[in-house]
């Protein structure tokens, strides 16, 4: 087994053996359910596809938060307990370490997205929507969540405190989401460029509508890779000062 998978398996077992992972997942699922019931279904009749779109809208928020929360401990906790020294002295590169940690956060995120699918599936079985719509939304959640995990991992690389790591990652995510609002007050190509960088709005809405476009997939993969590269650089820089 490669060192990357060893680390992933260890982390996943660690998540599974502690309450924190379940607590985060369950709380966010509960919140998603409440939001969906209160705002998603509402008290006026809607088409199934609109209800499904609303479901994905609320799930996108909790999925992004889940990604950050699942990732906040990945490096910060290791630094806090000192176990990071086992990994830093092991014959693995910083890129492998960052990849392993990302996957370790991505696996519980996948589990979370899978568990949250009960809401879209309820709409699918009780309403009239295409399965492709559900699948597209699920893919969007996975991609958005993967960006959340990589942003959370970046924060976790920066700080020893998980709380601070989560807060900083959250701020980065919120700033990236708000770029679509910023783009409205900037004219011309710059405004267009800012809008294109926004984490949610124009990149996630098509998934909510059941549309998969290569550009949006590439965008989320790019965000994920960008923050993974930043995380690797932080880890590399930390070798200059442990």
């Amino acid at each position: 087994m490669s060192a990357v998978w060893l680390i992933v398996m260890r982390e996943v077992r660690s998540y599974a053996s502690t309450w924190s992972g379940y607590l985060v997942g369950a709380s966010l699922l509960l919140l998603s359910g409440l939001l969906y019931n209160v705002y998603g279904i509402g008290d006026v009749p809607q088409y199934s596809r609109d209800v499904l779109r609303n479901a994905f809208y609320f799930l996108s928020g909790t999925t992004l938060v889940a990604g950050i929360l699942f990732a906040m401990r990945l490096i910060a906790e290791e630094r806090q307990t000192g176990s990071i020294k086992l990994l830093l002295s092991a014959p693995i590169s910083d890129s492998q370490l960052v990849l392993a940690k990302f996957l370790a956060g991505f696996v519980p995120l996948l589990a979370y997205v899978a568990a949250s699918m009960y809401i879209p599936l309820l709409v699918f079985f009780r309403g009239e929507v295409a399965f492709g719509h559900v699948a597209a939304g699920a893919l969007g959640l996975v991609l958005l969540g993967s960006a959340g995990v990589s942003i959370g991992l970046f924060g976790s690389c920066l700080f020893k405190s998980q709380l601070v790591a989560a807060m900083v990652s959250g701020v980065i995510a919120v700033v990236m989401i708000l770029l679509w609002q910023t783009s409205k007050i900037v004219d011309g190509p710059l405004g267009e460029a800012i809008s294109a960088l926004a984490l949610h709005d124009r990149h996630f809405f098509p998934f909510m509508e059941g549309t998969i476009s290569t550009a949006n997939v590439v965008y989320y993969l790019s965000v994920t890779l960008f923050f993974l590269a930043l995380s690797r650089n932080v880890m590399e820089a930390s070798r200059w000062r442990v």
């Binding site: 260890r10 053996s17 307990t81 000192g82 990071i84 020294k85 014959p91 200059w240 442990v242």
Partner: protein, 304 residues
């Protein structure tokens, strides 16, 4: 063979290491001494592959630790930091298996059970690490450092926080490493260093100020230990004469017939002198080890 050449490390504008050079031969146990802030931990972190030097190289049998093959070279190093790098929720066995596989040791290899036997962990193999005492956690820390059979084992304060019985066990364990590993041992427990190591390296203000055996250092520095001497009759005259002969640097009378003397030679020479002067010696008790004297002299006053 481990060779460090011109190791220099800056933290911002602060220079923590200034061109440190040393060589450690295979199967040597070397003690690494220095006051807090002297550059000891920085050196150990560089040797452990956790940190990169600002300049200089570390080579293990010619392979550069900071070069492109650095991660592979780290496979040949086992490192126990000041705090064992353990995962509390894991059992001893699963943790050591993880540490071994991380360094490329295949699952089920004999080294796992051998290591647990060597470190006295066989009876605790299935216990979660969080349930272990401090002493056993240290053992787990050493076990993870040797489970992949590295050439160099770096132990940073392995006896820190242990009780005397545990220190005794740890000393035996460290000595047992000699058969298969080169060991670099950092400790504030000076008797520990003296009893365990073949050679001492002393670092001060980021510079290596001594690298020799304890006896070589003693010969170079002169003995600077203190001893409490109890005699059967007044020894003032004999001690004055011993001071004039250069056997001691001074003495004070602590209480009746009990003297605290500052030795500048071996305690045996002083006893022989007192006896030849007709003074009966009832008891001689060193109050500070010779190593402590050496350590103070090297780290506080002058370079060897």
């Amino acid at each position: 063979m481990i060779e460090a050449r011109a190791l220099t490390k800056y933290y911002g504008r602060h220079c923590a290491l200034r061109g440190v050079d040393f060589r450690i031969e295979a199967r040597e146990i070397v003690g690494f001494l220095g006051l807090n802030g002297s550059g000891k931990s920085t050196t150990l972190h560089i040797l452990g592959g956790l940190m990169a030097p600002s300049s200089g190289t570390v080579r293990i049998d010619g392979a550069d630790l900071s070069g492109p093959s650095g991660p592979e070279v780290r496979r040949r190093i086992g490192f126990l930091p000041d705090r064992p790098p353990v995962y509390d929720e894991m059992s001893v066995r699963s943790y050591l298996r993880f540490a071994a596989q991380l360094r490329g040791v295949r699952p089920g290899a004999r080294s796992l059970s051998e290591t647990m036997a060597q470190t006295g962990l066989s009876d605790h193999a299935e216990r979660p690490i969080e349930e272990l005492s401090h002493g056993y956690r240290q053992r787990v820390g050493i076990a993870q450092a040797i489970v992949h059979d590295p050439d160099l084992v770096i132990l940073d304060e392995p006896t820190s926080g242990l009780d005397p019985v545990q220190i005794g066990h740890m000393r035996q364990l460290i000595r047992s490493l000699r058969s298969r590993h080169t060991v670099l041992l950092s400790s504030h427990n000076l008797p520990e260093i003296a009893q365990t190591c073949d050679r001492l390296m002393v670092i001060r203000d980021g510079q290596l100020v001594a690298s020799a055996t304890e006896s070589e250092l003693r010969a170079r520095m002169g003995s600077e230990t203190q001893a409490e001497v109890e005699t059967s009759e007044d020894a003032t005259g004999a001690l004055v004469s011993a001071r004039e002969a250069g056997l001691i640097r001074g003495f004070t009378e602590r209480r009746d017939l009990v003297y605290l003397v500052e030795l500048s030679t071996r305690v045996e020479d002083l006893v022989a002198r007192l006896v030849s002067d007709g003074v009966g010696v009832r008891r001689v008790q060193p109050t500070g080890s010779e190593l402590e004297g050496l350590f103070r002299a090297l780290t506080e006053d002058k370079a060897a």
